[in-house]
Amino acid sequence: VMDIYLRLKRLSWMVDNKRMRTATNFQWLLSTVVLLYLMNRVNSQRKGTPHDLKCTTNNLQVWDCSWKAPPGAGRGTLYELCIDSRSYPCYPLVRTNIEIPALPPGNHEVTISPQHGAGGFTSKFILSEKNVSLIPAAPEILSLSADFSTSTIHVKWNDHGSVFPRHSNVIWEIKILRKKSMELVKLVTHNTTLNGKDAVRHWSWVSDMPLECAIHYVGIRCYVDSLLFSGHKEWSEWSPVKNISWTPDSQNKVFPQDKVILVGSDITFCCVSQEKVLSAQIGSTYCPLIHLDGENVAIKIHNISVSDSSGTNVVFMIEDNVCGTVVFAGYPPDTPQNLNCETHDLKEILCVWNPGRPTGLVGPRNTSYTLFESFSGKSVRFRRADVPTNESYQLFFKMLPSQEIYNFTLVARNPLGGSESTILVNITEKVYPHTPTSFRVKDINSTAVILSWHLPGNFAKINLLCQIEISKINSVQELRNVTVKGVENSSYLVAVGKLNPYTVYTFRIRCSTETFWKWSKWSNKKQHLTTEAIPSKGPDTWREWSSDGKNLIIYWKPLSVSEANGKILSYNVSCSSDEKTQSLSEILDPQHKAEIQLDKNDYIISVVAKNSVGSSPPSKIASMEIPNDHLKTEQAVGMGRGILLTWHYDPNMTCDYVIKWCNSSQSQPCLMDWRKVPSNSTEALVESDQFQPGIRYNFFLYGCKNQGYQLLRSIIGYTEELAPVVAPDFSVEDTSADSILVKWEDIPVEELRGFLRGYLFYFEKGERDTSKMRDLESGRSDIKVKNITDISQKTLRIADLQGKTSYHLVLRAYTDGGMGPEKSMYVVTKENSVGLIIAILIPVAVAVIVGVVTSILCYRKREWIKETFYPDIPNPENCKALQFQKSVCEGSSGLKTLEMNPCTPNNVEVLETRSTLCKIEDTEIISPVAECPEESSDAEPENHVVVSYCPPIIEEEIPNPAGEDAGGASQVVYIDVQSMYQPQTKPEDELERDPGGGAGYKPQMHLPISAAVEDLAAEDDLDKTAGYRPQANVNTWNLVSPDSPRSMDSNSEIVSFGSPCSINSRQFLIPPKDEDSPKSNGGGWSFTNFFQNKPND
C-alpha cells in the first residue's frame, strides 16, 4: 500500500505539474482516468477488498461516493469507512455507497474496511476534490408554450441557482425535435450565470416550420462550470422532453397565414390536411412537397421575390379541395427623404417628404408615418387616406404659440421594420407665404399710388418683405422691395411713388419674410392709370412771317407723352409787346399753329399747353428777325438719314440756335420742321423721317440774339443724292460741213435729284438705223466723249467733222448720285461744195487728155494695130489660149494662172497640177487630200485664178510628178458619184487630220467642222457666184445626213463643184453672174479661197 501510495503521490504530483503547465480539462480528465485505472489494477490484484471508489456531486456540498463490494461479500455486510482516520469519525455502512460532506481541498485517505469478521481486507483510497465528478441534476422544463402566429416556442425552467455558488457559469443545451419520429432540428446552447438563488430561465426559439403542422419536442440539459470546484465536470442528464402540438380546428389549413416577410428571405409553408395533398404552388410555380406526420405537407421557398399588391398566393391542391394562404413579401420602409418643413401662415407647419424606395406593401401593411415633435412632445399621424400616390407625402402640424424652434422626427413603420428622419427648424425662417389676394391700387396723386393686399397668416411678430413689380408699356419692368410690418391675418398697405403722371402701370406683388426663405407666388396683375398733372414744359415753338409780312404764323410741336402729363386739350397763344398784348386762347389740340396779325414791333410770343389739370409753363419766342447782309447759300450733302450742319461758335448767340428746314420746291415761307439746339453747340445732325433721298431741302440756321433771331446760314442740301431722272433737253443750233453747235436746257431741280456736276457729250459717225452707240461707257475708240464740268455752259461746238456725214449725238447729265438717262440725236453735216467740184473736174480732165493722146497714137500706128489685132488671116501662133500647155508647171509664181484667151468664145478652166506645190498625204489612200501651201494663193495677184488640184486616186500615180512632162501631169480623171462617197468609211479620222486650212478638193464628207462657220459665211456668196450649176437636184446627192453640220458643208461644196460626175473638169462655163462681188474684181475667181476658207475674204 505504501508503494501504491508513493506511486500515487508521484503521479498526482506529475498530474499537478501537468495541470500547471496545461491547465486543460482534457488532460486532467486523462490523468484521472489513468489514476482510476491504476487503482483498479491495484485493487484487482487484491480481490476480496472493496474497490472502484467513485465520488460524484450534484451540488458541491455533498459527495456521493460508491464502491464495488468484493465478490464474496453478501448482502448485509457491514463496512466501516474512515476518512483521514484521525480527523473524521468513521461511518458504519451496510451499503456500498455513502454521502459525505464535501471534503476540503487536498488528499484524503479513505479507508473502507469490512466489519464483524466478514473477512477480506481493508481498502485504502486517496480521495481529493479532483477525483470527484460534478454532475448537475437534470433540469426540468417548467413550461413549454408556443406562439403559433409567430411560430415561436417559449421554454421555461428553473436554474437551481441556490445550489451552486454565485457566479457559476451554466451552459444550457436545448434540443428541438420535430415530428413523431423526433428528428433533431435544432440543438442550441444557452449560457447563463447563476446568482445564488433559484431563478426561472426563459428561452425562445422561432421555428422555420409553422408549429401547427408538426409536433415539436423540447429537451434541456446543463453543465455547471463552477470556478470553485476543481474536480471533473459533466453534463447533466437530459430533462424529460415536452412537446408542442396543434389541434386543427377545421378541416384544412395552411400556415402561416397572411405573413409579411422581407424580400429575399426563406419561408416554409405547410398544410394541415386530413386528405392527401396533391401539389403545392406559390404563385404559378409548383414546389416539391415535404411530407410531415399524417397527410401534412410543407414546402420551402427560398429567396422570395416581391409580391403584388394583393400578395403572393400559396395554394395546396387537395383531392377535391383547395387551401392556401397569402404571403406579402416587401421591404421595410426606406428612410424618409428630403424631409422639409415650412409654414404658409405661421399657424400650421407643413412637412413634406419623399417615401423613398417603395416597400411593395399596401393596404394595412403600408408604411405608417408619425411626425413627432420632441420639444412639445406632440405628434401627428399620417393617415393612409391622405396618400396621394408615390409622390411627396405631407403632414400638417399645428404650430404652438411662442414656440419657434421645432425638432421633428418622422418615424416610418411597417410590419417589416421602421426608419426615421429628423429635422430641426426655426419656423420663422421657413415662411413661404400664401399668394397675396385682394390686390388693389388706389391713387394718391399723379405720381404715387397705394397698393393694398391681403395675406392670410399670423405674421404679427415678423416683418414681411414684399416685392412690387411695376411695368409700363414699352418699358422695362421695375422691381421695388418694400418691408412691411407683419400683422395678424390682415391687409397690408404700401405707398408707391416716383411714378409718371397719366401713365398706365401694371402692378403685382409677392411676399416673403425678412429672413428670406421663398417668395410667394405673384398676386394677380392690376392695371392702373395714374392721374394727370400739369404739362411739365411748354411746347417747342417757332414762328414765321407770312409772305406778305403782315401776319406772324406761330408754330408749335405737340408735347411728348412724358411732358404732356395728361391729355392736352388746348393751347393758349399770346403776343405781348411793351404797348399791348394780343392773345388767342383755346386753340384745340390737333391744331399746332396760329396766325396773328402784328405790326413790326417787337413782340414776345408765348404758347401754353393745357390739360385737364392746368397749364404748362409758357414757352416764349421773339418775333423779331435780325437781318443778315452776309448771307450766301451753301450746298451740303447728308449721310443717308440725316444731314450734319456745323457752324462756328458765336458768343453773341445768347439763347439758342434753331435749324429749320423745308422742301426747296415749296413756296416761301416754307416750314417742314425745326429743331432747337443749345447755344453752346456748334453742330447738329438734322434727322427726320420725312427726309427722302434725291429731294432738295433748304436748311436755315438761325441764331438767337437779344430776343431776336438772325438767319446765319442758308443751306441747300440733299440727305442723299441720286442720279437725274431726265436727260437734258438739247438741240442743234447750227451745222456746217465740219462742225455742229449743240445747245441744251437746264434740268429742273425736282428731276435733277442732286447737285449737277456736269454733262457728258458723246458723238460718233452713224445713221439713225445702224448706230451702235449702245454702251457709252465701254470706251469704244470711235465714240468721242466730251465731259463738260462747267455746269453753266449751255452750248458746245463740235469741230473737225466730215461733211455730209450723219453723226449720232448723245447728251446726259450727272450728279454725285450717278449718271442720268441719255438723250440722243442724229445730225448730218453739210456738204463741202468746193471739194466736190474739184473731185469731179480732175477725173474729167484726165480722161479727156488720155482720150486725146490715145486717139493720136492709134491714128499714127493704125497699120500695126490692124496687123496685130485684126489681121485678115488670124495666126494660130498668136492665140494665147492654146499656149498654156507649154508653160504649165514651169514657173514658180505665174504658172498657176489660167490665161483667159480672148479669142475663144467660151471660158475653159483648166486645172493644173503642180506637184512641187501640192503635197499629197501619203497616209490617205481612200481619200487623198492635197494641201496647197498658203503662199501659192497669197502670192497670186487677184486677177489670177488659182487652180489647185490634187488627184484623188492612188499614190502610185503621183510619186514622180517632176519627172513627167507637163502634158502628162494634167490628167483629167473622172470619178463617178459612187466612188465619191467611198471616203465615208473613215470620216472621223480624217476630221482629225484635216484642219481647217486644207486646200484643194475635199470630198463632201471631209470638210472639217471647224470650217463650218466660215463656210456658212461664205455660203451666201457661193450661192450668188457659182457659175455652173448642175442640172440634177443637188439635194439628192446629199445622202449622208442632211441635217448634220457636215452635210451642210458638203452641200455647199457640191454646189461649188458643179458636176458630181467629173471633179477634174471643173469648168465653169457660165461666167459669174454677180459682177459686183467684192473680191472677184474683173471676173477673176479663186477656188482656193473657197477651199481654204480664208477668213480675210
Binding site: 397565414q257 400578395g311 397569402v326 399596401v362
Partner: protein, 200 residues
C-alpha cells in the same frame, strides 16, 4: 311591355289593364337591368381574378369546389328550377341577390385592403353591388304587386367577415363574383317568364 300588351286583345277590362301596367313596369325594369348586368358579369369576374395574382389570374382559372356557406349557390338543377313556380323562383332569386348585395359590399371592403391602388376593380365591384341592389328592389316590387310574401331581410353574413385570411378573402371574392354571374344568368329568364304576354 306595350308591345306585349298589344298581343292581348282579350284583356279589355280596365282593372286588368291597370294590373298589367302595374306589374309590367317593374318586371320590364328588372328584366332590362338583369340584361344589362349579364353583359358585365364576366367582365367583373375577369377583372376580379386578374387582380388576385396567380393562380387566380392564370388563364382558365376555375375552382367550382369553392363555395360560401353564407351565399346560396345557383346550383339548383334546371329541372327543379323549372318545376318551381314563379313565386318560388322569384323568392329564391331575391334571397340570392340579397346575399349577393351584402357579399359584394364585403368583397369591396376586402379588395380595398388587398388592392387599394386598383380603382378599376373597386369601381366595378361597387357598380355590381348597386345593380344587385337595384334588381333586389325591382324583385321586391314585383313580389308586392304579385302579392307574394316578402321573405324577411336577414343578415346573411353574420360574423363571417371578421378574421378571414387574405386567401379566404380572395376565394370569397371569387365565389361572390362567380355566383353573381350565375344568379344573374338565372334571374333574367325567370323575369322574362313573368312578363304577361304569351300566357294571356
Amino acid at each position: 311591355a306595350e308591345h306585349r300588351e298589344g298581343q292581348c286583345p282579350d284583356l279589355q277590362d280596365d282593372s286588368a289593364l291597370t294590373w298589367i301596367y302595374k306589374i309590367a313596369e317593374p318586371i320590364s325594369q328588372a328584366y332590362s337591368l338583369a340584361l344589362y348586368m349579364q353583359k358585365n358579369t364576366s367582365t367583373l369576374l375577369q377583372t376580379y381574378l386578374q387582380y388576385q395574382g396567380s393562380p387566380f389570374s392564370d388563364p382558365g382559372f376555375s375552382a367550382p369546389e369553392l363555395q360560401l356557406s353564407s351565399l346560396p349557390p345557383a346550383a339548383v338543377s334546371f329541372k327543379i328550377w323549372h318545376a318551381l313556380d314563379d313565386g318560388e323562383r322569384l323568392s329564391q332569386a331575391k334571397g340570392a341577390f340579397l346575399a349577393l348585395t351584402q357579399h359584394l359590399q364585403l368583397v369591396g371592403d376586402d379588395q380595398s385592403d388587398l388592392n387599394p391602388g386598383s380603382p378599376i376593380l373597386l369601381a366595378q365591384l361597387g357598380a355590381a353591388r348597386l345593380r344587385a341592389q337595384g334588381l333586389l328592389g325591382n324583385m321586391a316590387a314585383i313580389m308586392t304587386v304579385l302579392g307574394l310574401p316578402l321573405p324577411p331581410e336577414e343578415d346573411t353574413l353574420g360574423l363571417v367577415p371578421f378574421g378571414a385570411s387574405a386567401f379566404e378573402r380572395k376565394c370569397r371574392g371569387y365565389v361572390v363574383t362567380r355566383e353573381y354571374g350565375h344568379w344573374t344568368d338565372r334571374a333574367k329568364p325567370s323575369l322574362n317568364s313573368l312578363l304577361p304576354g304569351p300566357s294571356c
